[in-house]
């Protein structure tokens, strides 16, 4: 783990790296449910490059819907959630934390010692929700 990156490049290459890992599941549509809060929604797209929002590039495979709160022509999106990078369960944005990768509530808590200290509060908050 002595590989080092300059800051910006990290982001880009991280994206690329994930790109290769992508399951071919980036097809459209389906029902998605958060394992923790049971939020259940229909999603329009799963993946990193939502076809209805070309200006965005996700750094993980996300469950995405077209933004239902704004006018459709504006091609805005709403990201519902993603799969946990450790346990692969699907979790919503509030029941998980993103730091370089997606961690669901329980995986984040289990590994809380591995996160930078600045995120400790945030991880604690996850448990409260």
């Amino acid at each position: 783990m002595d590989e080092t990156f300059p800051d910006k490049q990290l982001l880009v290459s991280a994206g690329k790296k994930e790109d290769l890992q992508v399951d071919t599941e980036c097809a459209s549509g389906g029902i998605w449910k958060c394992k923790y809060c049971n939020l259940e929604e229909y999603y329009d797209y799963k993946g990193m490059k939502p076809p209805f929002a070309k200006h965005l590039k996700m750094l993980e495979d996300c469950y995405i819907i077209k933004d239902p709160f704004s006018i459709s022509s504006k091609c805005e999106v709403l990201v519902l959630g993603a799969n946990c990078s450790i346990c692969k369960c699907s979790c919503c944005m509030e029941c998980s934390i993103y730091y370089y990768k997606r961690f669901c509530k329980s995986c984040a808590i289990k590994n809380s010692h591995c996160f930078p200290s600045k995120l400790n509060d945030k991880i604690k908050q996850l448990n409260d929700k």
Partner: protein, 1200 residues
């Protein structure tokens, strides 16, 4: 308790940013905080999930209220507090000392904005720049240490060990840097580094927006799950799947109206109709349900109301008004387009709702694949479950969500009720306002809602309340009733400023129709003015009643929607217990004519056997059937006629429907369409139009001395002209038509409604084949089409902008000296109604509407009047004989069944009664003829749209018409004496024609015209063999020419109202004067029969000849006639004849003439050209129709 703490914590967070502003109050705040803890904790759980609501109106506790205020500010100034919250989570705050100003991105706002115009990254740039400002501020406070270049490694779970906030972002922009900043001009300070940094800010901002949106979604789902009805979701779905009829009973706030359609949709029912009694509820619910199902951008949730439709093939849930579904069910499309029908608010028992219940009951027997769901409040459930007891019915009860309400009875002493001046005494209401002021600190939020019975009571209380709060300025007093303008109605939804309460003084409109949030106090007068209906004289009566228990409870409930409330009842508990259990259903207090006709048209053989849930009085049904027969919609044995069939398809009163049909017979359909539309909507003339001096003078030129319908038509026409003249003003905010209306005290909304209704009428008439469809677009030139295209594009974008701004709907109220204004009304001044109007009506359409809405010539006007009468008959009224010597308020009129009716003060004749009086010069004398009433050729009647009793009975929407002519054309029974000097119409009005033969000839003309009219009607409605189009036109031309001439005939007569006693002594009686008339001058093919009761002989369906006892004058005329020779005007005949013999002669002459004319016509060459002129050629002895050049040719031909 945990939740409770949480809640507070988050709110502390929220206010963090504002704390420095409130440092002084901090300690105060804290103490209040703990003091209120008890009050709060009980309801905290609830407040939390209903945060959506509390956000809108605040809670009663001051802290929460302050929060709310801050949130509101933050909404205006782009979400400051929330953003701040967001930052505070990201980094700890440091000392604010550092105020070094150097580079900020804001300096390059203009340049940087170019990014957003080329890439769809950010919608609201203003908000973004606010965010940037704050971001920079915090960055500065933090004293950023340039540790960016630190290198990091990945740890055991694969994340970088050292914290960097960019790792918290799960997305990036899909653009390369130079691609993104391509349009940003280069400058010294905007270095690549700075730009990169800017990109980061954009991403952080977008991430913030994402989080905000996700929270919104989460809260929405939480709110839904916390609705009482949510626990019953599975039960409801199961019940609907298994049973045929499901009744869901739940009180206000349980969420049934929004959730049940969604549950069913999720359970794979795909064609759901959900009815609502009110149009506005349809739109509001459709919007809400679309929002909740994240469907706003698709069409799966739609609505359909009288004037508007937002639905297509994709629509799965349709909110629809009861009336419209009733029409659909009885129409061609039928019920098959739905698989579930939800009837919401059935307990309100509206007319259409009750009919729908009956029809659905029938449909359930015919079709097994349809499910019926009834939703009601928890009152009277047995009524509904018993009604469907034969079908499988399942009742589910859902508890409501109401906070506890303190109930206080404060009966008003009878003495106090009205002050000395007999006026309604508002002091009990003011006393309660005083109590509220004393008992509840102004920091505790909560508004007051007062229920009164009517307008005058509201005005009294509003005036007194304004007086009361003049000093303190701590109340905003707002009246609320249906005749207010829409804008004024909307004010009740605004926020009151801090420390001020709203006091809404309302009719029962706020009981169910309008829900105002934030009400904590209710004062209930216990009274309601309700429309009842007298089927005998077809009069609507607005009378004050005690309310029912059900509506008393509903009123009480209005105070407990948002928090614990207080309800003051201005009557005793004993009064309450004596109230009726439920209010009278509408079915029992309105005319049933059109509904019954619709049922009959649907195939119901006997309307008396309709399965009413609670049948109306039998009398009401009988009267309606009678009235339908009078209008020719039903035959004597209650079969549907062709008029009836057409009428049943028109969603209007029978009278208006009949006008439309008659209008389409003549080439008068355009103004009739406008008139019918104008008469079908609420009047645009507001109270102000009559009370305000300025309004009165400026609307003067709209008035027509013919009466209110023509005035209304004038107003509509002028409004259209204003629209027409300003068609180019799309861009400018408030339209000039709006100003035009305001100046005259008119409600513009009504004109828009008229326009929509008019289009609808036109479509309907085209559907019924009564009108040929027209295609306006095809007449446009290509340049016009291009212009129109551009205009439409602009309008559409305006509409979109409006929609976007629509979200921040509720507005801040402020206290003004006299009027209460809504802030920033002018800012987003898109007049959406105007935009919609322009989208539907282009320049040429408006200009054709203008011409279509005017009746200029005498002939047009007369035809219009006749068409109106044909719809309104028998709604005629005759003036009291003493009117000429009485003042304005004492002018009285008599209808056939209702004597002594007054003119409505808000009508033309109510202010100009002298127009109806006979001028001295119009009264003539005839030697020897004695009469109490004046002889004149200019007697007039009034025809009216409706009778309304408030303080006294009034005629509403009156039009003046020539008396004798109209009566002879429309009366259903006409009786005459031997010489036709006396003619009695409908056993109501007696006309005396002293001059010999004048009455007879007038009646003969009328009879002929009526026959022609019937003939034309039958041809048009397809009952008779179709004639050539040309022949129909000719028939119509002749008829309308005849009618206008007839109406213009000047014959002197007297008019007298017959009383019941008179009727006993005017007829000769059965078996008398039964001599058969042969040939029958009134109708050749009608076989004369003696009249069984009156005596005399019936010469056609309507006229009975010689059944009136002869008067001295009549005998005298008969004698004189034997001495004077009579000259026929058409032939050369000369001799002594009785009146009836003369009529026989005249009709024979007429027939002969017609045959002659017909023969003559056959000579006319068929292909007549435009500039042909008749030319009588002396050589061929023929009349030729030739163009001038052809005449020359013809002459040449002879000369050769």
């Amino acid at each position: 308790m945990k939740k409770h703490n949480d809640f507070r914590k988050s709110h502390q967070d929220d206010t963090d940013y504002f704390r420095h502003n409130h440092k002084k109050n901090k300690s105060e705040e804290k103490s209040r905080y703990t003091g209120e803890k008890n009050y709060r904790s009980k309801y905290d759980k609830k407040t939390e999930y209903s945060e959506d609501r509390t956000e809108n109106h605040g809670n009663y506790t001051s802290h929460k209220y302050k929060n709310h205020r801050e949130k509101m500010y933050s909404k205006h100034e782009a979400g400051t507090s929330k953003e701040d919250d967001y930052f505070s989570k990201r980094r700890p705050r440091e000392s604010p000392e550092d105020t070094e100003s150097e580079f900020t991105y804001t300096m390059y706002k203009h340049d940087l904005n170019k990014i957003f115009s080329s890439y769809p990254l950010i919608q609201d740039t203003n908000e973004f720049w606010q965010f940037v400002k704050k971001y920079e501020l915090i960055e500065k406070k933090k004293n950023v240490s340039p540790n960016k270049t630190t290198k990091v490694g990945l740890n055991s779970i694969g994340i970088p060990e050292e914290y960097n906030r960019t790792h918290c972002l799960n997305f990036t922009l899909n653009y390369k840097d130079d691609e993104l900043f391509i349009n940003v001009p280069e400058s010294r300070q905007l270095t690549t580094e700075k730009l990169k940094k800017f990109k980061e800010i954009i991403i952080i901002y977008m991430d913030f927006k994402q989080k905000e949106k996700f929270q919104k979604l989460k809260k929405l789902r939480n709110d839904q799950a916390n609705l009482p009805v949510a626990q019953y979701k599975n039960q409801i779905v199961e019940a609907v799947k298994n049973e045929r009829v499901v009744i869901i009973a739940g009180d206000t706030g349980c969420g049934k109206s929004t959730q049940v359609p969604q549950y069913l949709y999720q359970a794979n029912f795909g064609k759901i109709a959900c009815t609502q009694p009110r149009r506005l509820a349809c739109i509001a619910l459709a919007k809400r349900v679309a929002y909740e199902s994240l469907n706003e951008n698709r069409n799966e949730v739609g609505y359909q109301i009288r004037f508007e439709k937002q639905r297509n093939q994709d629509t799965k849930i349709t909110f629809i008004t009861e009336g419209l579904l009733l029409r659909q069910v009885s129409g061609e499309s039928g019920i098959s387009q739905y698989d579930v029908v939800i009837l919401d608010e059935v307990h309100e028992r509206h007319l259409h709702g009750d009919f729908l219940l009956g029809i659905m009951k029938c449909i359930l027997h015919q079709r097994s694949d349809i499910k019926l769901v009834l939703m009601s409040a928890t009152i009277n459930i047995e009524l509904f479950s018993n009604y469907f007891s034969q079908e499988d019915v399942k009742v589910l009860q859902v508890p409501g969500r109401l906070f506890p309400i303190q109930l206080i009875y404060r009966p008003v002493m009878v003495v106090d009720k009205y002050s000395k001046t007999e006026r309604f005494n508002p002091s009990p209401y003011i006393q309660i306002m005083q109590i509220i002021d004393k008992t509840y600190p102004s920091t505790e939020k909560g508004d007051l809602l007062i229920f009164l019975s009517g307008m005058s009571e509201i005005t009294a209380v509003v005036d007194a309340a304004k007086e009361y709060c003049k000093k303190e300025n701590n109340w905003i007093v707002l009246p609320l009733h249906s005749t207010l303008s829409i804008a004024d109605q909307d004010k009740v939804f605004g926020y009151a400023p801090e420390g001020v309460r709203k006091c809404i003084v309302s009719t029962n409109i706020a009981e169910t129709s309008l829900t105002i949030d934030g009400i904590r106090f209710v004062i209930d007068s216990g009274k309601v003015k309700e429309m009842s209906y007298d089927p005998n004289c077809k009069m609507q009566r607005l009378k004050e009643f005690w309310i029912s228990k059900a509506s008393a409870d509903q009123r009480k409930g209005r105070s407990g929607r948002c928090g614990p409330g207080v309800c003051y009842r201005l009557y005793a508990a004993e009064d309450y217990s004596s109230f009726e259990k439920f209010s009278t259903p509408e079915l029992q207090r309105v005319p049933l004519d059109s509904s019954l006709l619709q049922m009959i048209a649907m195939g119901l053989p006997d309307p008396r056997k309709f399965p009413f849930i609670e049948p109306p009085p039998a009398e009401s049904i009988e009267n309606s059937i009678l009235s339908l027969k009078e209008h020719g919609a039903l035959t004597e044995n209650e079969k549907l006629t062709s008029i009836g069939k057409t009428l049943s398809r028109l969603p209007v009163d029978i009278t208006i429907g009949k006008m439309l049909i008659m209008g389409s017979l003549f080439h008068q359909v355009e103004p009739v369409l406008s008139l019918a539309a104008a008469l079908s909507v609420q009047t645009p003339f507001t109270n102000k139009a009559y009370r305000d001096k300025e309004c009165e003078t400026s609307r003067k030129n709209l008035e027509s001395d013919h009466g209110d319908p023509i005035t209304l038509l004038n107003a509509y026409k002028e409004w259209l002209e204003v629209k027409h003249a300003n068609i180019g003003e799309v861009r400018s905010g408030s339209s000039s038509s709006k100003k035009w209306c305001r100046r005259r005290g008119l409600e513009e909304q009504r004109f828009y409604e008229m326009t929509k209704l008019r289009t609808q009428f036109k479509d309907l008439l085209e559907d019924c084949k009564l009108l040929q469809s027209s295609d306006v677009n095809s007449e446009m030139t290509s340049s016009e089409r291009i212009m129109r295209h551009g205009e439409l594009k602009l309008l559409r974008s305006l509409k979109r902008t409006y929609k976007q701004n629509d979200s921040r709907k509720r507005k801040q109220l402020k206290i003004d000296e006299d009027s209460i204004e809504i802030e920033d009304e002018k800012d987003d001044g898109i007049d959406i109604k105007d935009v919609e109007f322009r989208m539907k009506n282009d320049y040429s359409k408006v200009s054709s509407l203008v011409t279509a809405s005017s009746a200029c010539s005498y002939k047009d006007l007369m035809m219009l009047k006749l068409i109106l009468c044909s719809g309104l008959y028998p709604q005629f009224a005759v003036a009291d004989e003493f009117n000429y010597c009485k003042s304005m308020n004492e002018q009285l009129f008599h209808t056939k069944v209702k004597p002594f009716v007054a003119l409505h003060p808000m009508s033309f004749f109510g202010n100009h009664h002298e127009v109806l009086h006979l001028a001295e010069s119009d009264i003539s004398e005839i030697l020897g003829f004695k009469s109490k009433t004046p002889i004149s050729a200019k007697h007039q009647l009034l025809t009216y749209l409706s009778l309304l009793e408030t303080t006294k009975p009034y005629l509403v929407n009156t039009l003046r018409i020539p008396a004798a002519q109209t009566l002879l054309l429309f009366s259903q029974e006409i009786d005459t004496n031997y010489t036709f000097t006396t003619i009695v119409c409908d056993s109501w009005l007696s006309l005396d024609f002293p001059t010999p033969d004048t009455g007879a000839i007038l009646l003969l003309k009328a009879a002929n015209l009526r026959q022609q009219w019937d003939n034309l009607l039958n041809i048009r409605l397809g009952e008779k063999v179709k004639l050539e189009e040309e022949n129909i036109d000719e028939l119509e031309y002749e008829l309308s020419k005849g009618l206008v001439e007839f109406m213009h005939t000047s014959v002197p007569y007297t008019i007298k109202r017959l009383l019941v006693a008179d009727l006993k002594s005017i007829y000769v009686g059965c078996g008398e004067n039964a001599t058969v008339i042969e040939p029958n001058p009134f109708s050749l093919d009608f076989e004369c029969v003696p009249h069984e009761k009156k005596g005399g002989i019936r010469v056609n369906k309507i006229i009975t000849y010689d059944c009136l006892i002869a008067s001295d004058w009549s005998d005298k005329v008969a004698c004189e006639m034997m001495e004077v020779e009579w000259n026929c005007k058409t032939c050369d005949f000369c001799g002594v004849l009785t009146t009836i013999e003369k009529l026989q002669h005249i009709s024979r002459c007429n027939r002969n003439r017609k045959i002659d004319e017909a023969e003559k016509k056959s000579y006319v060459p068929p292909e007549k050209k435009k500039n042909d002129v008749p030319y009588e050629c002396s050589i061929c002895q023929k009349v030729l129709y030739l163009a001038p050049t052809e005449i020359l040719k013809h002459q040449k031909q002879h000369s050769q």
